[in-house]
Amino acid sequence: MRLYRTLRLALRALTRNPLRALLTTLGIVIGVGAVIAMMEIGAGSSTAIKKTIASMGANVILILPGTAASGGVSFGMGSVNTLSPDDCTAIARECPSVRSAAPIVRARAQLVYGSRNWVPNLMDGTTPAFLNIRDLDNLTEGEPFTERDILNGNRVCLLGPTIVRELFQGESPIGKEIRVKNVSFRVVGVLPAKGANMMGMDQDDILLAPWTTIKYRVTGSTLSNSNQSAASTSSTVNSLSNLYPGTSSDLYPATSDVQAADNPMPVRFATVDQILASAISTEEIQNAIRQITALLHERHHIREGEPDDFNIRDMTEMTKTLTSTTTLMGNLLLCVAMISLVVGGVGIMNIMLVSVTERTREIGLRMAVGARPSDILRQFLVEAIVLCLSGGALGILLGHGGSTLVAILLHWPVQTSPAAIVAAVAVSVTLGLAFGFYPAWKASRLDPIEALRYE
């Protein structure tokens, strides 16, 4: 028997009783609808999360200085600066899975332009590689600072849109001078807008400058990473021409060269607060972390079993936290889907059993004129599958409508997912097969004589 003839037969049998068919498929409609809604919402939120993470820079790895411990007393993360700019250069050069790396020196200080002032959220001293890692390459205005600026400790900076708005109010800031702790910075560029990050922090409230400039002219310290906000208030007077300004007023008499030579301080030449690196691809993040760990072990002379003096973070944990809500929602919907699919399947089985009983004589007749048991089995199986598929089609519409509603009312990000439609069709066919089989098998096992005599 040709398949399309079987299909036509099944369609005719179903359209004979459309209301019954519709009610029967209700469970499947709801189940498939839930699956579709779940997958569309899931796909939407995962895209949204990916976008957020990409806005922070794709494949970012953060290397933080480690915990200092002395005699069992931990001073907490970042209590010593163990990372040097050379570490950063080495990471960029020697780790094959790392695309680039940039040091970060943090400061916190007031910006002054004319009569206006502003304390930016972030004031990072870094290298041009930072722009690449954070995906800030496309400056809205101006040019980034250069390696030469870093070597010379030039007083140039890039501003985020928020600072531009607060200090310049629509004016172009390029070429203007702003003052930071009495050091004058020339604005060379404006960063592209990034919006708030996942924690609601404004990513546009940022000042970027060469790390040497921040380190030696703003924080003015080579030894410790003292609290800059506190330091900033004790505003030591700097002359603009001073090459190394911002030296804190000494409480104690300065150490002479001889004293310094006698008591070498356990610090490296220069330290940075963080190193920001990016892996060449998402898959390579774990490799990159491994390579960086090995490299830093070697450079910091950390032997096997000794505690690390650095910490490495990537975005996976943050991603996990962010996905957990949607995962929970998804699991809930999945439960609803499972239950209604099973209920729907049982409904299909029930109606197919009724149909087989109602059509006993037809089955007997078909057998008498030469239908084999397998023909009958196929006919009823195809009918069940067609029933489930039409339920599935309605379910796809319902689910899509539902997720669109969620998008409109709750402003959740949703995304049409072709995979969901494929899954829905597969689920429908499977249900039809699973729950249609028993009635179809029963039909195929009828005895033609008894079936023909059935009243």
Binding site: M1, R2, Y4, R5, R12, R16, R361, E362, G364, L365, R366, M367, A368, V369, G370, A371, R372, P373, S374, D375, P448, I449, L452
Partner: protein, 240 residues
């Protein structure tokens, strides 16, 4: 060699501890092109015999040769194939598919045919067959919109669609009035004489049996009055 040959056919039903022997040592034969009537009292086993002859059922014991083939031990699928290709059935209660056009009813057995004709070919053949039984005008009618005689003619068209060698009719006129019965019986005669279809029909009614060339009487599961030629009734189209 006759088309149908039964050799000591027995059929026993088991009802719990009971054993009911419905057919007892039936031996008979029907030649190609015969029109045979099976007669007997109610419960004598006519339908049981017809089911065995029509390969719907299997005898408990005995041999059944159909067209040179021993068919009593064939599998379900093989018998289905045989029924589809060589045998046509006409029932007392027509057994048409409800809410299905006459054309689709007639074309239905073609879906199970081995040569598997295309949809268009199937429609053409079904239409021809309906025209042959005089229903060319009513191919789109559903059974509920046809008279009893018309329904039975649709059923005959359906039985003939695969050009069978043998037609089995179990009380084909049982639900019809005498006038339409005569029409149906004339149709059987024409099929038998013009197309050479072998026809075996079951009836209670001696008037119906008169249309046959030969009557086989069954009594309590046995062939009773032997085999005789019904000479007079042939061609005598009296009140059936």
């Amino acid at each position: 060699m006759p088309l149908i040959e039964l050799n000591r056919i027995n059929k026993t039903y088991h009802l719990g501890d009971f054993e009911v022997q419905v057919l007892k040592d039936i031996t008979m034969s029907v030649g190609e092109g015969e029109l045979v009537a099976l007669m007997g009292a109610s419960g004598s086993g006519k339908s049981t015999l017809m089911n065995i002859l029509g390969c719907l059922d299997r005898p408990t014991s005995g041999e059944y040769w159909l067209d040179g083939e021993e068919v009593s031990r064939l599998s379900l699928d093989q018998r289905a194939l045989l029924r589809n290709g060589k045998i046509g059935f006409v029932f007392q209660n027509f057994n048409l598919l409800p809410r299905t056009s006459a054309l689709d009813n007639v074309a239905m057995p073609l879906s199970y045919a081995q040569d598997n004709p295309s949809e268009r070919e199937a429609r053409v053949r079904a239409k021809e067959m309906l025209e042959r039984v005089g229903l060319g005008e009513r191919i789109d009618h559903e059974p509920s919109k046809l008279s009893g005689g018309q329904q039975q003619r649709v059923a005959i068209a359906r039985a003939l669609i695969n050009r069978p060698r043998i037609l089995f009719a179990d009380e084909p006129t049982g639900n019809l009035d005498s006038r339409t019965s005569v029409e149906v019986l004339h149709m059987f005669q024409r099929l038998n004489q013009e197309d050479g279809v072998t026809i075996i029909l079951v009836t209670h009614d001696p008037n119906v049996a008169h249309y046959a060339q030969r009557v086989i009487h069954i009594h309590d599961g046995q062939i009773a009055a032997g085999i005789y030629d019904a000479q007079a009734p042939k061609g005598e189209e009296g009140q059936a």
